[in-house]
């Protein structure tokens, strides 16, 4: 234990880098997921095709290889060296954004057709319909999957150490090499990843609860903040529908 406490500043430094990668990746993935997800529901076949191309290309590429490509191949092609952290954020953001786009598209399509008909009867434009009616309802449906994806993204940032970014994994590996304390070094990393994941889950549950309340659903699983520490109970009024 002392081993870890002594090296806490190093670990926290690594954790801070991992948090940066995670936040940057989530921000990028979210923007891409929303944009291409909405595009995937467009009436125009061309727009839908653009969305499909993005999803299929970046879903089909390993984030690790994409990151290597941007860190090592891109400089050869363009002479421009990306910052390692930036390359990692791009890689995980583009990759998870592709999964997220499918989530957004599915959630939009799951909003009942009758809601669209009601907006037509009120003469709303496509943009008004999306912004005022469809996306707010689809949002509650996206959140649980977004929670999973953001944790996946956070864990995927661990590959960044392979291009020399000093994240949690890099710190653990460095420590293992320096001290030979393999078990402790990686145990520390495990704990930190777990803690960051818990913060992410907590945040997503907070958003989920707010989204459900906005839809007039009672938040499943109780009221207080502590209720957010456990997964929502499945009730007839709550859940995904």
């Amino acid at each position: 234990m002392e081993f870890l406490i002594d090296r806490l500043p190093l670990y926290l430094g690594g954790a801070w880098v991992t948090v940066q990668l995670t936040v940057g990746g989530i921000a990028l993935a979210f923007v891409l997921a929303m944009f291409f997800g909405v595009l995937g529901t467009a009436r125009s076949g061309l727009l839908r095709a653009v969305s499909t191309v993005y999803v299929e290309v970046f879903r089909g590429i390993a984030a690790l290889v994409l990151m290597f490509w941007m860190a090592y191949a891109l400089p050869l092609l363009t002479g421009f060296q990306l910052d390692g952290r930036f390359a990692a954020i791009l890689a995980v953001g583009l990759n998870v954004g592709a999964y997220g786009a499918e989530v957004v598209r599915g959630a939009i399509n799951a909003v009942p057709r009758a809601q669209t008909e009601a907006t037509i009867a009120l003469d709303m434009s496509w943009a008004q319909r999306m912004r005022l009616v469809i996306l707010p309802q689809a949002w509650a449906q996206m959140l649980p999957t977004f929670g999973n994806l953001s944790i996946e993204l956070m864990k995927a940032t661990a590959v960044a150490f392979l291009i020399g970014v000093a994240d949690i994994t890099a710190v653990a590996e460095q420590m293992r090499q320096a001290t030979g304390e393999t078990v402790l070094a990686f145990s520390g990393a495990l704990i930190l990843y777990f803690l960051i994941a818990q913060v992410l889950i907590f945040g997503v549950r907070l958003l989920e609860r707010r989204a459900n309340r906005r839809l007039g659903r009672t938040p499943p699983g109780g009221r207080g903040l502590l209720a957010l520490l456990r997964p929502p109970a499945l009730t007839t009024s709550g859940g995904a529908k």
Binding site: A114, Q115, I120, A121
Partner: protein, 263 residues
Amino acid sequence: MPPSDAQALITFDQVVKRFGDLTVLDHLDFSVAPGERVTLIGPSGSGKTTILRLLMTLERVTEGTIMVEGEPFSHMPRGDRLVPANEAYLSARRKRIGMVFQQFNLFPNMTVRKNLTEAPVHVLKLSRAEADARAEELLELVGLSDKIDAHPTQLSGGQQQRVAIARALAMRPEILLLDEVTSALDPELVAGVLDVLRTIAETTDITMLCVTHEMGFARDVSHRVLMFDEGRIAEEGTPDEIFGDPREERTKSFLKSVLDNGH
């Protein structure tokens, strides 16, 4: 050709609507005068609801044209031909038409107030204050002033439908389409909704097209009743004629079946 085309507000001219092989409307001609309240009755699948959905631009005609105020509605002029109307053309014209749905279709992500004000603010460009005033006035009309900040999920079906009526009226439509608005309601909630519609019929000159199985209501509020069967008008007349002395066998048997079901 339909009668009194000169003053007609809505005219269906040889309208055909097919879904695949199924012909729902079969060369339909009819017209509705301004301020007229027309009830459409007939067995399910006879095309009544499709007429409302065509007018609300939720469906497109297969053949024929629909005119509103003497102007093409389902189609738009291009050169000297008529081509199917595009979204911009429809948008400019559907503003004058409102619709109330069988399943209410309130927006669950909004309070009652927002349900009533979002379209007036964003579509009609009313100020928030104007839209709020309009919403409050309409909620009073439908007897739900105390529910303005409630969520749709906190309301009974009957209350939700009254909010839906208010939401349609908030757009100040000239034409109101009512699609089986009491069919999804528990029997004890039907009267409240019909009372609201009676008030609207008595106090406004909104043109109404109403698909309903509530024959008492149809008799009270409508000027004219159209009996549909297999995508055509089997019989039409005043409520007294249709309900009191139907000529067609199909009308008689339909009315008998509805009455037997306790309506």
